[in-house]
């Protein structure tokens, strides 16, 4: 296959999955999907190796979907899969690290044979159990666990499973609306792949997939081989809700003989009793993301471009959660995974890295009763601090890295629940000084207008530990979380009085290089 033919068919594959992702995001009920793009879609070959992926939302999803597919067909093998089947799971260890994320996998048949699979993962509105937050004591308290099963069998819904899901979630209509969208997206993706095969007269995509994966694998290894061999260390510290200080340590080994990067997290903090433990798949997702976004962000994501990055962590570790650890709010720790890696890389390619920033987005959920006595539960909404400075560019203010989520507009929230925002403004000079300055954090205040008591689930982080600068850059300011002007640092749900007011100041990003 020459470089011209391959380019044409490859971009065809990517356009198939991108269109699926776009329409899923548009029609989703789950607010975090539609506003924040917390979803992933991908196309797999007949061996369930990921060939193409849509560029969407968050690294946590897109890179863990890559590993979900082959594990799902180990449990339900291809010989037991028929046209019209749809596989489902939300097993945290098989896919994206908590129950909210449900993955669907649809086989693509051509002339009676499976030529590939369409997969999608989206963050659903609810999954029963504890709800949003880190407060569950073990994983079973966190909600409904769906093992790898058939959601549809030969085109017919698996009624037993449908009934179980419907009875075990708080918002069944929204969940089934979104599962329906995922199902239809898988079907359309399959049709479009078949249409592409018709267009180019292909019986299957095996040769195409092999070529894509081989070239991506080689390009990634070639890029790694240009780095100086050796082992480099990085460490990042941050505090989580409740005040616990977490340390993530990385030994990053660059093997220029075979073009591989080994990332080992030995020496990192042990498991937490809170639901902030991270499964290995999610740790792997954010680790490979960090490398890929620095090394070769322009290269598409697939089995080949991910293979040369190998991630390991000891068993007793907050980023290698073991059953039955609670994992619900795993993003609080997971979104910090890239930072020790970036610090290690700064020792060899500082021009491509960036300083520590606020890390995890701050997520909030509000529940209560409105003036008519009707209960309401807000969607989970989130706000960012400043991004760390880059080698030649300042950090972006109120913008998150590593995740790419957006904030829900104030007017949208005010129209959907009785909330009133009192401010949302940047806090100047919270970004660290440096040759390049860190992005500024922001001040966000709100209260509830119902006149009744209400409940607050807030997941701030970095309230004590400042984001570090790089190569002489100054640290960004730590965040602040206050209720009626008094600092608060609680991991569990809070009961609030009618006129309580919340004020949050998100952290600023670290600076890069000595200030001039």
């Amino acid at each position: 296959m020459d470089g011209i033919q391959l380019e044409i068919m490859w971009s065809n594959l990517i356009s198939i999955v991108s269109e699926q992702a776009k329409s899923l995001q548009r029609i989703a009920f789950s607010p975090i999907v539609r506003e924040a793009g917390d979803l992933a879609t991908a196309l797999f070959d007949s061996e369930a190796r990921m060939v193409a992926q849509a560029i969407t939302g968050t690294p946590g999803h897109i890179n863990s979907l890559a590993a979900a597919a082959w594990q799902m067909i180990e449990i339900i093998p291809p010989e037991d899969i028929y046209p019209g089947d749809v596989l489902i799971t939300n097993d945290p260890w098989l896919s994206a690290g908590h129950f909210f994320d449900i993955t669907l996998l649809t086989p693509i048949f051509r002339k009676g044979k499976i030529i590939g699979y369409c997969g999608s993962t989206i963050h659903h509105t609810d999954i029963g159990g504890y709800g949003v937050g880190a407060g569950a004591r073990d994983i079973h308290e966190e909600g409904l666990w769906i093992p790898v099963m058939k959601f549809y069998e030969r085109g017919k819904p698996n009624e037993t499973l449908h009934k179980i899901i419907r009875r075990n979630v708080r918002t069944p209509d929204a969940i089934f609306g979104d599962l329906g969208a995922q199902t239809s997206s898988g079907k359309i993706g399959g049709e479009r792949l078949n249409a592409m095969c018709d267009r180019y007269d292909l019986d299957d995509i095996d040769e195409l997939s092999a070529e894509i994966i081989a070239r991506s694998d080689k390009a990634t290894r070639d890029a790694i081989k240009e780095l100086p061999a050796g082992t480099y260390h990085g460490e990042s510290q941050f505090d989580v809700p409740g005040g616990e200080l977490i340390t993530l340590k990385t030994a990053l080994t660059i093997d220029t003989d075979i073009g591989e990067i080994l990332i080992d997290f030995a020496g990192s903090s042990g498991p937490s009793s809170l639901g902030i433990n991270v499964v290995m798949a999610y740790t792997h997702a954010y680790s490979t993301f960090a490398i890929r976004s620095i090394l070769n962000p322009e290269l598409p994501n697939n089995a080949g471009s991910l293979a040369p990055i190998v991630v390991s962590a000891p068993e007793k570790c907050i980023i290698n959660a073991q059953y039955p650890s609670p994992v619900n709010a795993r993003h609080v720790v997971g979104m910090y995974v890239p930072f020790p890696i970036l610090k290690a890389l700064t020792k060899i390619i500082p021009e491509k890295t960036l300083a520590e920033g606020s890390g995890a987005v701050w997520t909030i959920q509000v529940q209560g009763q409105d003036k008519n006595g009707q209960p309401f539960t807000s969607s989970m909404f989130n706000y960012s601090g400043g991004m760390g400075a880059r080698f030649t560019k300042d950090g972006l203010s109120a913008t998150c890295y590593p995740t790419g989520v957006s904030a829900v507009p104030i007017e949208v929230l005010e129209a959907s629940i009785p909330i009133e925002f009192t401010c949302k403004e940047l806090v100047p000079n919270t970004g660290g000084k440096g040759r390049q300055k860190g992005g500024d954090g922001q001040r966000i205040g709100f209260r509830v207008r119902s006149g009744e008591k209400w409940a607050l689930n807030a997941i701030p982080s970095r309230l004590n530990t400042q984001p570090e600068g790089l190569l002489g850059g100054k640290p960004g300011a730590a965040g602040a979380f206050m209720i009626n002007g008094v600092a608060s640092n609680e991991a569990r749900k809070l009961t609030m009085a009618a006129d309580d007011e919340v004020l949050m100041i998100t952290p600023g990003g670290g600076g890069f290089g000595k200030p001039t």
């Binding site: 009920f29 607010p31 329906g180 080689k218 290269l299 491509k352 109120a398 913008t399 790419g404 403004e425």
Partner: protein
């Protein structure tokens, strides 16, 4: 005899078209005069008037104007000092945006610097809630103080964007009243006038763009109106808007944000006009120029209009890297694929083309102006589709040797010959345009397969036939006047104004009284604007639509409603229409979910115009002027070359064939047959299925 004049000011050229009611027409173009756009306007106008041997005072039909003036002001940041007033506590709305990183993998992304800085943003003490109730009344003394501060800081124009003003504009209007008293010379733009829709950042961004451009466009259009009047032109000029309508200069000047895409919109309008003329219900317009290609879907003879778009994209043309603007606009996809798009071999050994462009300076290697990178035009030269000695009738010599050297570089890396590599560039750019068009169509629930293509722009006719093949299309139309098509488009454009108002409510619980008030209000505004554009009250038509979604979703679908919803008041029909469209778009329908209305929309339009150009063709069949050896996938083929102006009406030529004219060259592939239509269009039809 009636004379209608159209002037389209683009980035490089200012085009003029003059049409007489008997179908005679005159066209010309001159370089755009960026220092003072009116100079170029008048020069181009004088050129065509001279050719027709008439004077300004003889122009007794419309004068329509499309202009890039707003885009230039925005991109070059040439606007006046602009301030903003927001609700106190929310000063950084333009800096914080929606907090999104539009490219997750790339940590080096950038955003445009806001048009209005923090230093010139004031917080007003006031609060309106989402249910339109007033949380804190406006403080008149506070606003007077802000106004005086603005005067002291020499603010020329101000954007006012208060929280939740989309559902209750009283505070914004109060701010305007006070500003008018304290500082009568400051231009005031209210967000509740420009974009009364929920979502504070989008509304603020739109309002800021408008406020920034008003001090330029108002005087510009006032001056134009005055000059034309002084010259004795009968009617006041009409201005092309991004939504594919024309409107009076006074309203256009007050809302410059509505005219950003006026040139490209005019191009899409012609496509609609041509589709109707040939009886094609649906069609894809394909406009390929030097840096980008634009495609627009024509449905039922009309280009699609959407509610928002982005200006001034900062970073590699990436969506999300520009300033969002929520005003109705012709729905076009623009991709970095033009004659100047650069080809390269990437780290994976793949041949890539664009989105970066060598532009016109230095331009493709063959321009011989210092460009060394291989571009699409270089490939066209090497393949022998373009004659290097006959570019712009030979006014501009192309250096094939330079093209060859540039492509040789890539050929070495690919292990292919120079000609094979050139064909690769030709096919990769064709596929990327087809892929973009497919994605765009699919996104809108349109089946692109088999839709005819309308090819224009300098590079459009060269590549259209190949792109058509990739889209499974069987017809390509090459219209006459392709190089001034946008200017011509403004003359077949109806007067039109699109209005929108927020109105969040559940479908099963509509307050018909307040809906009627909202709709009445919009109808009144639309009627007044169209009458000002010279449309008789009786011939104004209204279309009603609503943005709807399932309750709990965040994105809406715009649904066209029955003739006048105020009379029928039929919410069941709304739901039926919504579900039908939803199913087309997303393949599912959710029976149990509640449906809600987010916005009401009214379009007022004045019906289509019937201006037409007749081109007199010879009836003597042309013969080819030469034979050229063109390299394609399977090697060299012999292709006859014709001069477009020598072709006879009704003449049929079997492809492959090359048709040359001054500004462009049409390349019709083997398997296609070209026929000359009586009106001067060339229509290529595929006669071999599955070929090429």
């Amino acid at each position: 005899m009636k004379y209608a004049l159209a002037i389209d000011i683009g980035g490089t050229f200012t085009d003029a078209v003059l049409i007489r009611s008997d179908g005679n027409s005159w066209t010309d173009k001159t370089l755009t005069t960026h220092g003072n756009l009116l100079e170029g306007f008048l020069r181009a106008a004088e050129f065509v008037l001279e050719r027709a041997d008439i004077a300004f005072k003889d122009v007794n039909d419309v004068v329509v104007h499309a202009t890039t003036v707003v885009t230039n002001v925005l991109i070059e940041r040439k606007g006046s000092l602009t301030g903003m007033i927001v609700t106190e506590g929310f000063k950084d709305v333009l800096y914080i945006r929606d907090e999104h990183r539009y490219d997750m993998f790339d940590p080096q992304i950038e955003y445009p610097e806001p048009l209005i800085t923090r230093d010139y943003t004031w917080g007003a003490k006031e609060r309106i809630f989402s249910d339109a109730t007033i949380g804190a009344a406006i403080d008149e003394a506070n606003i007077r103080e802000i106004a005086r501060d603005m005067v002291a800081k020499k603010i020329v124009s101000v954007a006012v964007c208060l929280l939740n003003s989309y559902c209750n504009p009283v505070h914004e209007r109060e701010v305007r009243r006070i500003l008018n008293e304290e500082a009568p010379n400051i231009f005031v733009t209210l967000s509740s006038d420009v974009a009364p829709q929920m979502r504070e950042y989008l509304r603020a961004s739109t309002t800021a763009v408008n406020a920034y451009a008003v001090p330029i466009t108002r005087p510009y259009l006032d001056a134009l109106t005055k000059i034309l009047k002084d010259f004795g032109v009968h009617n006041e000029p009409l201005i092309m808007l991004s939504n594919g309508g024309i409107i009076g200069a006074r309203i256009a000047g007050t809302y410059p944000v509505r005219m950003i895409e006026s040139g490209p919109a005019a191009g899409a309008l012609v496509a609609g006009h041509i589709a109707r003329k040939y009886g094609f219900e649906n069609l894809i317009s394909f406009d390929m120029g030097g840096t980008t290609a634009k495609a627009c879907m024509i449905q039922q003879g009309e280009p699609l209009v959407v509610g928002d778009f982005e200006v001034d994209r900062q970073y590699l043309f990436k969506p999300g890297s520009g300033m969002p603007v929520t005003v109705p606009s012709i729905d076009m996809i623009e991709i970095g694929a033009g004659g100047g798009s650069v080809a390269r071999v990437d780290a994976l050994g793949l041949l890539k083309v664009g989105p970066d462009s060598a532009g016109s300076d230095p331009g493709p290697a063959c321009y011989n102006r210092g460009g060394e990178e291989a571009c699409v035009t270089d490939a066209d030269v090497i393949l022998n589709i373009l004659d290097p000695d006959n570019f712009l009738n030979g006014d501009m010599k192309l250096e094939a040797g330079r093209s060859e050297a540039a492509i040789q570089n890539l050929a070495g890396k690919l292990g292919l010959s120079v000609k094979e590599t050139a064909w690769g560039i030709f096919s990769v750019v064709g596929e990327s345009m087809a892929a973009a068009a497919r994605a765009h169509a699919t996104d809108r629930g349109i089946n692109y397969r088999g839709l005819p293509l309308l090819a224009f722009g300098g590079a459009g006719p060269v590549h259209a036939c190949y792109v058509a093949d990739r889209l499974e299309s069987t017809q390509v139309i090459y219209p006459p006047m392709a190089s001034v098509l946008s200017a011509f488009g403004t003359l077949v454009t109806p007067a039109r104004l699109d209005l929108v108002r927020g109105g969040l409510s559940f479908l099963n619980d509509l307050d018909w009284g307040s809906i009627e008030d909202t709709i009445d209000d919009m109808v009144k505004e639309g009627r007044a604007a169209l009458m000002e554009a010279g449309i008789a009250e009786g011939s104004i038509m209204y279309e009603f639509s609503a943005d709807m979604r399932y309750s709990g979703q965040q994105n809406e679908v715009t649904i066209l409603l029955e003739s006048d919803l105020r009379e029928t008041k039929n919410s069941d029909d709304f739901r039926r229409r919504f579900e039908k469209q939803y199913e087309i778009l997303y393949g599912i329908c959710l029976d149990d979910m509640e449906v809600e209305i987010v916005n009401w929309r009214v379009t007022a339009h004045g019906g289509s115009t019937n201006r037409e150009v007749s081109i007199v063709l010879t009836d003597k069949l042309a013969s080819s002027k030469s034979l050229r050896s063109v390299f394609m996938e399977n090697g060299e083929i012999e292709v006859p070359v014709y001069d477009r102006k020598s072709l006879a009406s009704g003449q049929e030529i079997i492809g492959p064939v090359i048709i040359e004219e001054r500004e462009t060259t049409a390349f019709i592939l083997p398997g296609w047959t070209m026929k000359v239509h009586a009106d001067g269009s060339l229509i290529a039809t595929k006669h071999i299925q599955g070929g090429q």
